[in-house]
Symmetry: C2
Subunit: 208 residues, 2 copies
Amino acid sequence: MATRGRPRTFDPDTALRQALDVFWERGYEGTSINDLAEAMGIASGSIYACFGSKEDLFRKVMALYGTTSGEPPRRALREQPTARAAIHAMLRATADEITRPGTPHYCMLILAAPTGAVENHAVREFLAELRHDMLTTIKDRLARGVTDGDLTAPPAGLDAIARYYTTVVQGLSIQARDGATRIDLEAIITCAMAAWDTLTSTPSHISG
Amino acid sequence: MATRGRPRTFDPDTALRQALDVFWERGYEGTSINDLAEAMGIASGSIYACFGSKEDLFRKVMALYGTTSGEPPRRALREQPTARAAIHAMLRATADEITRPGTPHYCMLILAAPTGAVENHAVREFLAELRHDMLTTIKDRLARGVTDGDLTAPPAGLDAIARYYTTVVQGLSIQARDGATRIDLEAIITCAMAAWDTLTSTPSHISG
DNA sequence: GGTAAACTTGATCGAACGACAAACAACTAC
DNA sequence: GTAGTTGTTTGTCGTTCGATCAAGTTTACC
């Protein structure tokens, strides 16, 4: 009972990728079903049949986004040998992604739906949770640095440092959106990394 | 010919403040004319008669926002005696504003319309210009520190530092939106200021 | 071939969108 | 009082929103 009935005339993965492009450019509320149908090359009915509601489609789009554009920064955190190198590489990978030619110059996770109509509260909170995962991932990487022995900082300091670099990542997205070049972002990252030695050597400064 | 005809039954300043609250909470596209009319206590026709279009109203709202919520950070930059104190106070004033009880926990300038439908491109660019003014204001304050003698950094370094602290300000807004407390923000600011001494003592690090 | 199942299309649903215009109300100038 | 001016209200304009449905099409199964 796998392939009975008329087969799809479009590839759902391709269509999802096309939907991603539209949501990425216009945000959640700025994208209409008509926009999506046009970009995906199918009628709106086919969207609902294959992907469910607009919100369902958006959640699937965000999953795809996470495994594509979200992967390089995550891999940087994972594969770099020290916590410092991991954070630095993660920032640079983020800068690479949000200045990539052919795609909007910002992180979709951050800017696709920060505010909006009351009826889309669930979508905003969905993205907020994903952003919280970003903070957690960074925090875990710092903790790994402590157990690996390449980072010495008090537990309370780890939280602050993780939050700080999450803030930088999110700020970079606004900068890129407003026209900052890859070179501009590199300079910002250099500034942000200038705090590292101070933060990891004088822990008394960062107890909040 | 000042006061001919029927006088207004509402105070435009009060109505503008009420419109600000709605735009602040729901963003530009997430706010409908109906939402505004309801919050302002007048019919939609009166909005168009007094303020023009939705976009015109939004621009007037942003002017009000700039002179109210935007003033404390700007004053901090202006009145603190040194560049370092100015930046630090500006960050803390920003944190105060975006965690103020009774108002949304983010900067409207940053999150009211970062993305959206194509027909609202002008609104997004309007906000982008205001954000660029933020960068310019910070840059000018750093330059003043150089002429005042309390800051030594190469000209290229000033741009990078200004961009860096602008990035932090904008990142703070996302953090507050996602539930960070005033204490959380303070810890982030402490981290961000930890970069200051390095940035202003070893200028070779920040040439972009 | 016949039937059931899966998919696509095109039309359309009620509601909401931004914007506007005519009718009415309230004031000043004379 | 009367005319002229301005603000408010009510209703509605044409469009678009997200979502759904019936009808038609294309396949697998028997």
